[in-house]
Symmetry: T
Subunit: 69 residues, 12 copies
């Protein structure tokens, strides 16, 4: 990790399956337009309930990536 | 989402399996006495350890539901 | 839980599989040198990204154990 | 304020008009079933957006009331 | 601690004597209507002042109890 | 709310009139370049003072919107 | 904004009308004895309830002002 | 509690006896120069240790008082 | 306080008597194996409830001590 | 500061020299693509260690800039 | 540190040079009117940007001093 | 960064020179007894004041290191 500058963006992924899958969804989306994704930090775990069950896990992550200069 | 009022209650679900299962346990319990559960927010993830392994995941969630008026 | 004193230490477990597995890794490591582990609290969930996917989940836990006197 | 015990509940009021109106909506709802409401604390101010405008203000308050014994 | 679900409520006890007494007051009040109280966490310590002395200690606690199913 | 990914951005709106108006200003600005704005969360309320009066309310909001894929 | 030193004080304004009015009340009071008020930050929004309605909004602000040297 | 403005100051009281006594010490000191003290909030509880025992409890409180206009 | 380095550890003391006694228990335990304890900071006050009364106060403190080099 | 809307972005600068230099690196990078940078707030100070010395200071800042409309 | 009472005030120092210099500026200003300054705690590090460089570091500190009785 | 487990410890370094030097002091001390130090996070910046100047910077860091298994 040399003298780079990183940017952090905040995304919310949603998944019907698990917290991990919601995070992967958010990262996969970010990877469509950004190269050099480096790390993430979970900042919030929420979800929607339908009929007394979790319908969607909604997990917010900050994703850090290298600014290519 | 019209002009409703929502109430939030705080429950801790426990599970021997996973964080997600502990959340589902808490929501299922709430659904026994409350209709109109809408969303949840995870506020704390803890657990008990026995013999160097997680015995129970204990996940606290705030659950929001519509007050029917 | 009688008149004991507990100590908390902070470990970060990493796993390619899941958040739960990263926690178990941290606890298993602590159990190598400490007896009487009692509970844990998740304080941070982060991870590394490679090629647009989560490579490692890195979960920090505070682990409480009984000081044997 | 003598030797009373107070309970706090957490409600989210919503309003198309203002933050203050959302708070009043939450308190009015609480007042339907509880006497002796005493104070509130705003814990979260959020809202929904439709067509580039705020459709609903959603304000969460903790409301304290005297437990009558 | 098996597969139970716990609920947390938030009460403020007040006492002219001490912080501990204010907590006991809050718990005693909760015990009138709820069985199976298990633990508490202090979330706020405040008080009222009259004539340059503490008139009341007001201590807010979250109290956890087992939901009997 | 299906399997979407949302992005959150953080804007500060300013207004000479009210907190609500500052929020609307921030959202209106975001709506110029982004479609599918969904919700906001107030994270900070500040302001500038001139001659002992509020000259500008400056309200920071996180705004969530759907990433269209 | 040159090489000044600023001091922050914390005041709570109350108003029967609105959050904004409570802030203005606090600032107006500070302006009676202090010149060079520069900015404020809202740190707490609370209030008293009478008969199921907000009687007073009580808004706490930190107010920054230039120390004149 | 009518349309007053309150000021909050932050003091640290110290005591060899108890947390409560440290708070009373801070309030008694404030009462020497300020009338109309109304409430306090504990913000920090610390202390010094000598020979494996607490030598001083050091408790920080915010104290609110009415500005007389 | 010269050019020392301090280490902080986190212990939870428990007591049937008071918050202060739980803190003293934690410090006394630390003093068995560590010299040069200097200060503590309370980070959490919790407890267990039996039969509607506090059975144990459980107070977590960070304890700072000089590393002797 | 008139009726503008500001956007905040979050960058992490790294430097082998100092905290201040890491902040300047982050701001210089932002200035390559954005005009009208106005202020920053440090949100996190971390770093990497090699051979018992700080190899890189990694400082995260939120940077506010005027949206030109 | 005997049975004193300390007061904390909050100042923001600004400097074109460094974070440390901004702290020293704030303390030097406080020392003009107050004797017995004892310690400080940094609560916020911000700054203004001009032409893609830090123009001023603005560091907020709480400063504790002994109340002489 | 493969499947390791990391431990975090919390140290306070002090320096008469700068924040950076206080951090280096803490890390150098840790490096005397621990190999494989990897990263640090600043959690608190405080200091002592003598004669209206900073006598010591006291910076608390969490230091992460690899547990060698």
């Amino acid at each position: 990790m040399s003298d780079h500058v990183y940017k952090k963006i905040e995304l919310t992924g949603s998944s019907t399956i698990s917290i991990e899958d919601a995070v992967e969804k958010a990262i996969a989306e970010a990877a469509k337009s950004l190269r050099c994704l480096r790390w993430f930090e979970v900042t919030e775990t929420r979800g929607h309930i339908v009929d007394g069950k979790v319908e969607h896990w909604q997990v917010t992550v900050k994703i850090g990536f290298t600014l290519e200069t």
